[in-house]
């Protein structure tokens, strides 16, 4: 995956967030404070305005810029979590202009580890972790089986979608939804949803460039 594809990934995600701003906010209204879509959209609009200045830098630097922008413009739980995710991811691929399957695995794993460390959520707590964890696991298995980036990512996204939907029956233990107790059951977690969208965008960025690739 090239740094231009990384840029495309971020652009696709920013567009998806804009489209789904209200949807994410409604999800958050049900079990949170009705701002997740607004937060993410504010952050990724900012990211879009920052991207041109780093578009030609290495992938580590691009992701670091994303991280810093999110940290200083999103706020809330998602700001620190996505900020940390990109920060760790950027460190994992520091200096690279292109990513192999193994690099991508390290990027994803480092991002997930960052989220876990910052947020202390466990699988089943009804958070973005429930999307991210199965996705990283699926990606790792596919890569271990020698599958190429695109199909590994396809499997990751399938797992992510299952993980996202699995949050519906969960009782929240972390984040604002946890204050609702039993009433959090029956609603899909907004962060798990945006997290699915970010992986889906990654997949789209990869497949869109399949022709122009090597």
């Amino acid at each position: 995956m090239t740094n231009q594809q990384i840029i495309q990934w971020l652009q696709i995600f920013a567009a998806k967030i804009e489209q789904n701003k209200e949807y994410l906010t409604e999800l958050d209204a049900a079990i949170g404070d009705a701002d997740h879509g607004i937060n993410m959209d504010r952050g990724f609009k900012k990211v879009m305005s920052q991207l041109p200045s780093v578009a030609n830098q290495d992938i580590g630097n691009i992701l670091k810029t994303v991280s810093m922008t999110l940290i200083s413009s999103v706020g809330g739980a998602s700001g620190s979590l996505y900020g940390t995710l990109f920060l760790r991811a950027s460190t994992a691929v520091a200096g690279k202009q292109e990513l192999t399957e193994q690099d991508m695995l390290e990027l994803l794993q480092a991002g997930l580890d960052g989220v876990l460390q910052r947020g202390k959520a466990q699988l089943g707590d009804k958070t973005m972790v429930d999307t991210l964890t199965p996705a990283v696991t699926a990606f790792r298995q596919a890569v271990d089986q020698g599958k190429p980036m695109l199909s590994a990512m396809e499997e990751a996204v399938v797992a992510a979608e299952v993980g996202m939907k699995d949050t519906i029956p969960m009782l929240a233990k972390k984040g604002r939804a946890s204050y609702l107790g039993e009433r959090s059951v029956g609603h899909q977690d907004p962060g798990a949803t945006s997290c699915y969208l970010i992986l889906k965008s990654l997949l789209e960025a990869l497949s869109r460039n399949i022709g122009s690739g090597e």
Partner: protein
């Protein structure tokens, strides 16, 4: 949505501009990143107190910046915790060399962003401690969960710790005091209506005519359960029962350990609220509920305290920690000791809390 606003995305900044222009004798505002700070900061050798959180809870926190209370406040977007760079800049701005206390409400967003700020400030050699407030008895379970939210006790902690810092307490003393205030404070709130976040434009939830949300936080999120709106006396009884029946609550909170130079988990347990205690009774409007109704709640609250052998020695009644335009109220009972009373009474001069000077 019927609000006096211009563009939703400008709301927080414009509100700060109004504050800056109205209270230039007390506070100054820095815009990018956004924070409000004492006009006379930094104060040499004084511990500085910083708080912050999402906007929409006005007057908290920016309205409490000034002599005897906060040195700085970091306002986030509406109901969205502020970002670490805001806190870091505020920290550098008000640092008087005696260390900084962050008073942080226990929401994942606030906690994580203040933790990041703590790490950043520490890496620049500034002594920062962050103390969590988690006083909301509506949230029951604490193990493996986010635990309780920080609500009404936050205002009281800011006043009491602000006075202590003003009087020369050192960093550890202020931190100990803040923890003590948190452990002795209990809150419970209810909503008669939802609130409307400007950027969203519609109410966060819909309530039927005779319905309320019981056990709410301060972000327009639904409460623990929906129930029937009864008389002011009955509603007050329900809130008070939740507070009085609350037994020793135990939780694990993460604080920075100065000696170890890392985060440590501390187990903290609330002392019980026994008959004979002196308390501060704080009846708070969620924004839309008028003062006259708060006095009805206070009336019943005082009656219940009397029956329970609790002595109300101080009180605070009004809209201090709000959820935009939400109708509803919360009650906070803070068990007081003589030191806290003395610090509560100490002079304070901020845009929204002022006495003794």
């Amino acid at each position: 949505m019927k609000k006096l606003i211009n563009k939703p995305e400008d709301f927080v900044r414009e509100s700060l501009e109004g504050m800056a222009s109205a209270h230039s004798d007390l506070i100054k505002v820095h815009y990018d990143p956004a924070f409000v700070y004492r006009a006379d900061a930094p104060i040499k050798d004084k511990v500085a107190i910083i708080s912050g959180g999402g906007s929409g809870h006005e007057p908290m926190h920016a309205g409490f910046v000034g002599m005897g209370m906060l040195d700085a406040a970091c306002p986030g977007e509406i109901f969205t915790s502020p970002t670490p760079d805001q806190m870091l800049e505020a920290t550098k701005c008000v640092d008087g060399g005696a260390g900084i206390i962050y008073i942080v409400k226990n929401y994942s967003g606030d906690v994580m962003n203040f933790e990041m700020a703590t790490e950043l400030a520490r890496s620049e050699g500034i002594r920062v401690l962050n103390i969590l407030i988690d006083d909301d008895v509506a949230v029951k379970d604490s193990l493996y969960t986010q635990g309780r939210r920080g609500v009404g006790t936050t205002v009281l902690a800011e006043k009491i710790c602000g006075a202590a810092a003003q009087q020369g307490y050192n960093l550890q003393q202020v931190a100990d005091l803040c923890r003590r205030v948190n452990l002795n404070g209990r809150s419970m709130g209810l909503a008669l209506t939802s609130c409307t976040v400007p950027a969203k434009g519609t109410p966060t939830f819909e309530l039927g005519d005779g319905e309320i949300e019981m056990g709410i936080g301060i972000h327009g999120e639904p409460g623990r359960k929906r129930q029937v709106l009864k008389s002011a006396d009955e509603m007050t009884e329900i809130l008070m029962r939740s507070l009085l029946e609350d037994t020793a609550y135990s939780r694990i909170l993460r604080e920075w350990d100065e000696d170890k130079g890392e985060w440590v988990d501390m187990e903290l347990i609330d002392p019980p609220l026994l008959p004979g205690s002196s308390v501060l009774a704080f009846v708070n409007s969620m924004g839309g509920t008028p003062l006259s109704e708060l006095y009805l709640v206070y009336r019943k609250l005082a009656e219940i305290c009397e029956q329970q052998g609790l002595q109300i020695v101080r009180n605070l009644i009004g809209p201090y920690i709000t959820s935009l335009d939400m109708f509803g109220c919360s009650i906070t009972l803070l068990k007081l000791d003589d030191e806290m009373i003395k610090l509560w009474d100490a002079p304070v001069k901020t845009p929204s809390l002022r006495w003794g000077i």
